[in-house]
Symmetry: C2
Subunit: 328 residues, 2 copies
């Protein structure tokens, strides 16, 4: 695992330094695939028509995964990864590649690493989510070369705090954040002037694409909707578009040795109608019941590969035709 962790740390460092961690991501995934090479895939039932497996080391079980999407041969991963990169079309903001190949490569990147952490570093629960963010941010950066990438949106100062000195606000904020980090819990960054939203691409037109990246949403599904609402209110309606990106909503059920999909389509319908409108939800392993929300036009729900092969192109074109957000 030293090799996996070392490569991940470097990828994250490069990502945070605004460098492209593309090669480091590949190295991290290669190392992860090699760690898993000699383990047997244990069938763990069928859910929504999809066959899931898990890995096991001693008593430690991995999260469930789709063997159909997980590439286990390092050489094959290497070929597919290079195929994806070579398909980069900066002008069309997409990878010119079939959805199935894009899907398998990205799924393998995220899951091979996450499974290694499940098995050998189960206490580092948040690291797989961080790597998912790094992978997505790095790949979409290739498709939006003219955009700047950040992790948050800076808001105008809140009316009720205008009387506070700026340095005073920062001090309070930092203290809170440190406490939250120490507590090891997940907090919204406590800064009245920023909304932390995982990945943000600021386009030259003045529009912004906000990309929350979550392995699963669980009870945190409210977050991207609440953030979108705040952005609509503070920055002007339509200036930022949120695209929620996730891996799956599956959960291992060890009692029945099977996989469950935990979905809340009613809640999403309610939020989309009364809280704020997301531009779409994109899954590497889309839950069947959320795809129904796409079918009945409640909200766009598509495979993540669709976003990077088609959806982003459509969105950026649409924003180019709309009057500049800056001019507003």
């Amino acid at each position: 695992m030293k090799n996996v962790k070392k490569n991940f740390d470097l990828a994250k460092q490069q990502y945070d330094d605004q460098e492209s961690p593309i090669d480091q991501i590949s190295a991290t995934v290669q190392a992860s695939i090699q760690k898993l090479a000699h383990l047997a895939q244990i069938p763990y039932g069928v859910c929504s028509g999809k066959k899931y497996c898990i890995y096991k080391v001693g008593r430690q079980k991995s999260r469930p995964f789709l063997p159909k999407l997980l590439i286990t041969d390092p050489a094959q991963f290497n070929r597919s990864w290079n195929e994806l990169l070579q398909a980069t079309n900066r002008k069309q903001h997409c990878f010119d590649i079939d959805e199935q190949t894009a899907s398998r490569v990205i799924y393998t990147c995220v899951m091979a690493f996450a499974i290694c952490y499940d098995l050998w570093k189960p206490k580092s629960r948040k690291t797989p989510g961080t790597f998912f963010e790094v992978i997505l941010g790095a790949l979409i950066s290739l498709l939006l070369p003219e955009a700047t990438r950040t992790k948050y949106v800076t808001l105008p100062p809140p009316k009720s705090r205008k009387n506070l000195v700026a340095s005073e606000v920062s001090e309070i904020v930092l203290e809170q954040e440190q406490e939250a980090l120490q507590a090891g819990e997940e907090y919204a960054s406590d800064d009245a002037r920023t909304v932390s939203t995982d990945i943000v691409f600021n386009l030259p037109s003045g529009y912004g694409i906000v990309i929350p990246a979550k392995i699963t949403t669980r009870e945190r599904i409210v977050q991207p909707f609440a953030h979108q609402r705040i952005l609509d209110s503070a920055m002007g309606m339509g200036r930022y578009i949120s695209l929620l990106t996730c891996v799956s909503e599956t959960q291992r059920d060890d009692k029945t040795k099977s996989v469950k999909e935990i979905c809340v389509p009613g809640t999403i319908t309610l939020f989309q109608e009364h809280l704020a409108k997301l531009g779409g939800i994109y899954y590497l392993d889309p839950p069947k019941r959320y795809l129904s929300l796409d079918e009945d036009k409640t909200i766009v729900v598509k495979p993540l590969a669709h976003l990077v092969t088609k959806g982003l192109n459509t969105l950026v074109r649409k924003l180019q035709k709309t009057p500049s957000a800056r001019a507003n």
Copy 2:
């Protein structure tokens, strides 16, 4: 603990059946105080100028509490509890009693029980929160005899789902909820037609008072604001007023044997300005940094005893002067 649990179960049953569990609450708290009678209070440091203690049984530690507010003598609790009940003023929607006595009685009700669960039933993590809800709902019911109490607000059917048969929606919803319960996690109820908000009082005037009750808010602070926003959007602005009620924001830090207050005043400021407006936040043990938000008029933050001795009266009077919500 059998006696504590038996009395709690009965109190909850009566509460869910729309009966008044007042005597059962008292019995539950009496039993809890008796369980703690022979334990020593261990000082656990000072936080925001307040002295905290914990209880310990073997290696099991309780949550931190304020010895100044916790009544440990069953007879004294009995006297204060009866004093509170006798001070019920239905016409003025308040307890005619000093804030300090109200504060100590309610704090003791919630905390004596919660501490027992920390020490002897640490796996039942959610039960103390449920008892807090039962206590608050039961006490405020005494002050609002003309209101009907529910646990949720029913919304008009969502536009995007109008084409679904009603029974179909219910079926989906129930299935999700069951799964969520099985997973033992905390979900928003997955019903596109209801918002679950702990306690709701529907006033004859057509207005509603929504009372989310949380031991601590942690990263769930977004929930009451998101719910308020949904109610504003779906039911009409101002029809429902949310009063968030909490115990404290303290956390035990065993490394330093002290108590920390985890606060996010910047986040609350942001939510209050851009997500939705709460009518107020009421704490049994108010964090110092949130009281500053009250001082600078960002949002009402007061001791919970203030709500039941004064605040509710003011709010109900204000709503009576405003044109009927039903007529709107």
